[in-house]
Symmetry: C2
Subunit: 302 residues, 2 copies
Amino acid sequence: MVLRALVPWDGLAPAGSTLHVDVYDGVAAPPSDVDDVVCYVLPYPQVTAMPLITRMPRLRYLQTLYAGIDDVAPLVPAGATLCNGRGLHDASTAEHALGLILAAQRYLQTWVRNQDRHEWRQQYTASLADSTVVVVGYGSIGQALGRRLVACEATVVPVASRPREGVHGIAELPALLPTADIVVLVLPLTDSTDRLFGADSFALLRDGALVVNVGRGRVLDSEALLAEGGRIRAALDVTDPEPLPADHPLWTLPGAIITPHVAGGSATFYPRARRFVAEQLRRIVAGEQLHNVVLGPPIVAL
Amino acid sequence: MVLRALVPWDGLAPAGSTLHVDVYDGVAAPPSDVDDVVCYVLPYPQVTAMPLITRMPRLRYLQTLYAGIDDVAPLVPAGATLCNGRGLHDASTAEHALGLILAAQRYLQTWVRNQDRHEWRQQYTASLADSTVVVVGYGSIGQALGRRLVACEATVVPVASRPREGVHGIAELPALLPTADIVVLVLPLTDSTDRLFGADSFALLRDGALVVNVGRGRVLDSEALLAEGGRIRAALDVTDPEPLPADHPLWTLPGAIITPHVAGGSATFYPRARRFVAEQLRRIVAGEQLHNVVLGPPIVAL
C-alpha cells in the first residue's frame, strides 16, 4: 500500500523515495481520506489541523512546528514519534533582541521622532561595541543572541539557571549586574523566574543601564522598573500585563522601548521550518535518527 | 633633554619609558611651551588643536584620529611620521548600518509610532536572517558589517571597486541586484561613485527591497529613489543634500528611515582610539613599526 505524508508546503518530497507527499496547509479544506497517512507535519498555526490526527490510524511520525506540545501530545497514537519545533524561532527572537539593543544604544526612537518632525539634529550616541552584556537565560535563543553580540564586539556574560563550563549560575547574578551595560532576559516563566528581576536587581545596575526582555513579561517586575523613574532604560518585547493597556505607565516611561510580543514572528521562521521538515523527511526515508524527538522512538520505521 | 608627548587623555604613559606624557584635550587652554614635544596625538575634534603643530620643531610623530589627512599633512615637519585614524570608526559605522537594517526589517518605526499612541498591535515582520545582503564597498567598514551580518545568519554578497578573491567587482553589480533583499552602500564619494546608485540600479531590485546608505549621500541618486515612490525601502544615514532641508520629500517617502549622519559618532570610538594610541606609544618606545603610517618613516627614532 501507498505510504503517504501530509506536509504544509509543496516541494518537500524526499529524492528517490516511494513516500507519497501531499500538501495540507490548514487553510484549504482538509483531505477527505487520511487513512494511509504515516507522516503528518502540522501546519503553522495548527489549531484547525489537529483534529485530523485522530483519523490517522497508521501515523508513525507527527511533527509540530511549535516548541510546546501540551496540546498535541494526547493525540499521538501509541508507538508513534512526536517531534517539536524547538529552535525554529531562535533566529527571529535573537535578531529582535539585537534590534532592540541597537535601537536603544543608537537612539533609533529619537531619529524616528525627529524624522516625523523633519528635523536633522545630530547627537553623539551610546554603542553596543565595547559594551558588557549580561544574557540571563542561555539556551538556544540566548546562545543565538550571544553569537550576534560577539560579532558586534560586545563582551557577553552568559548566565543560566545552573552554572556550567563558561556559563555563570543564576546565584552569581547579583555580583555580575554592577558590571553590566546591558542585561537581556531570555527566560521562560516558571515559579523560580516569576518576577525574578525586581527592585533588588535594578538597585545593582549602573545609571543608564539597559534592560531588555524577550522572554516572558512576568520575569521582570514592571512596578520595580517604573519605580526607577527612567534611571534604567528598558526595551521590552514582552510585558506584564500583556497586552499592555493603553493607560499603562510603561508606555511613557522615559528611555523605554516597547514592541508588542513580536520577537518570534518574522519571515525567517518559514525557510527554517521548511529546511527542518525537509531534513526530517530525509532522515525518515534514510532510517536515521530524527531531530527534536519528544515522544516515541527516535528512528521511525515506516 | 626631556622627550615630551602630548596626548588627549590621561593614563597613556608607556610603562618603563622616559617619555614625559602630558594631556591636551583641545578644549582647555593649550600648553604655553611645546618646544620639546616629539609626539603629538591630536584630540578629536582636532580643528582648534592643529595650529600648535607649527610650534613643535622637534616633532617626530603626529597622530590624527580621523581617516582623512588633507588638513594636517601640510603641517607635518620634514622627516616626521604622520599616522591616521583609519579603522577607529569602523565598529561604530558597521553597527549603525546593522541597526538601520534591523530597524527596517523588524518594523521599528511602526513600534515607536504605536508606542507614542499607546497601541499594542501585533504584526508579522520581515527578517534579516535568511536574507541576501549585497554590501557595495568592502573595505574595513564593509567587512566589519559583513561579520555582523553573517552572525545574523544572512547571506553576504561583497562587492568592491575591483574584484578579488571572494569579492565581486562593481561591474557585476547589475547581475547581483536582482538577487538582493538588502543592498548596503559603504562607498566614499569619488568621480566614479557619484550617483553610482540611480534609476538603473533601482529598476533591477525586487519590490520591497531595502537600500541602506552609510557611505556618502551623493553615492545614491535621491531623485531616482523618490521616483520609485516607496516601491523600494530605504534607510539613509547620509543624504543628498545634507543636511536634509525640512521641506525635502525624502523625510516622508514611504518606507524610508532617516538618521542625521551619526553612524561613525558613538561611544565605541573613544575606547578604541585610546587603545590604539596606547599601542602606538608603546611601539614608539619599543622602536617598533607604527600602525596607519601615511607619511614619513614607519619607525620613529626619538
